[in-house]
Symmetry: C2
Subunit: 275 residues, 2 copies
């Protein structure tokens, strides 16, 4: 993916900053979910390559902006200094802006998609990433830091901050593959439950995980007195809820009536991972 950034005619520092965060690793969960969904319909992954790149760029931009001093003020991300620690706040903000903007260009110029698909997917992605989706979730997260949240409020944050883009990954794959409306709906519910399981697992790992594995200090959320699932439900309760969502996810996947082997593997990985 960084090769497509290198080609942009822009000051070197902004490209370096964008590539730094794109290359910082991470699980590539969103592209993987998109490709696995195409696979579930027997379609070539290549059809989704541009949307997958765009998705990872938007995810990366959101991490750069979330880490800023005026937001979560994090120094480490995936075990490396955060973007603004390396390039300064101004360039970090602009690298995020650049990734977000460029992601739409990549989809709009895709050689794999019809113009109608491009328009539909761009509208869907902007909705998932914008004020009614990820950006709205980040705002709710910021507001929530000042108070004790209940489970519903915590769920609202996660369903928007991370959930909407995960659902986009799966449903965009289904749309590109030509899935029926019914299948899209089942896969959307699959991804919704998977996203919640993912988030609860993150909270559990923040308590039980190993700093080398998760790339940030263990207990960092507790230290900030953030509302988490284990805090609201006990660790045991959070583990149960995580498994409940995994079960629901698998039920919806079953209903979608697709070749579900890869998607099932990803679902199990999300709940059993140690980082």
């Amino acid at each position: 993916m960084p090769s497509c950034i290198e080609k942009i005619e822009a000051p070197e520092i902004i490209k370096e900053s964008m590539i730094y965060s794109l290359n910082a690793g991470g699980k590539r969960l969103r592209p993987i979910l998109l490709f696995a969904t195409l696979h579930a319909f027997g379609k070539d992954e290549k059809l989704g390559i541009d949307v997958a790149c765009a998705l990872e760029m938007i995810h990366t931009y959101s991490l750069i902006h979330d880490d800023l001093p005026s937001m979560d003020d994090d120094d480490l991300r995936r075990g490396k200094p955060t973007n603004h620690k390396v390039y300064g706040e101004a360039v970090a903000i602009l690298a995020g802006d650049g990734l977000l903007t460029h992601s739409f260009e990549i989809i709009a110029k895709s050689k794999e998609l019809s113009d109608t698909l491009k328009a539909n997917i761009i509208a869907f992605l902007a909705q998932a990433a914008g004020p009614s989706g990820m950006v709205g979730g980040q705002v709710a997260d910021l507001l929530g830091e000042q108070k004790d949240l209940n489970v519903e409020e915590l769920e609202y944050i996660h369903e928007h901050k991370t959930g909407k883009l995960l659902r986009f990954a799966v449903v965009a794959g289904a749309i590109i593959a030509g899935a029926s409306k019914d299948q899209q709906e089942c896969l959307d519910q699959f991804a919704r439950h998977l996203g919640l399981a993912f988030q609860i697992k993150d909270d559990i790992l923040d308590i039980e995980g190993d700093v080398k594995q998760i790339g940030k200090p263990v207990g960092s959320d507790v230290g900030k007195d953030k509302s988490t699932y284990p805090k609201l439900l006990t660790l045991e309760g959070a583990k149960n809820k995580c498994n409940d969502h995994l079960t629901s996810a698998k039920e919806w996947l079953e209903k979608a009536n697709v070749e579900s082997d890869l998607l099932l593997e990803i679902a199990d990985y999300i709940v059993n991972r140690d980082h």
Copy 2:
């Protein structure tokens, strides 16, 4: 335009913050240029309404981010407190992100444009606004603050930071109107010269203008020791250069062979305005 923001399902504070900056006034130069270009081809302005909204949203997001403490650190914009002064840095960054993201949704969902036009215009807009355009210009501007620039370097900044979006406004209007490649090229050059005239005039007003009219302290660029056209060329030289660009703009407009009355009026306004 704010009514389309009010309808978004999102936390109130982010909508309020987005609307605050959209309503802060400004000349609406980009939408006006787009509408005037449609008019030059005898087309209904309505065809461009969604692209014009998106364009103004992207311009507004760029102002919000430019004003941040880690960027230009401005307290006033158009005579009102800047977004982060009212809503705090975190919400201001997210309001910018939200406006940028939502602008692509608006175009992708436009009822006025074919899917092919949507894809073309989104690719063009993202290129004009992203790292190879406006974002790249802002990076160059930040880097340039630390040194004395020559006219070519100053021109690079303006051609990217403001020029690319102004050119988009005109050329997008031409594309929507079904202009020939030749006409698009002539209008692109018209907009390029107009953009440079606009920027030189801004620098002149920073020296000669009235604080009430321009909404920020007169001489604020000089105070920051920023490179400006009058500083590099003398005030007289800057005025001459401004007029030269206006003349070139008009020559290109002539070559485009369209009903040019409105576009000519805008060009004259840009050079003769007092704020």
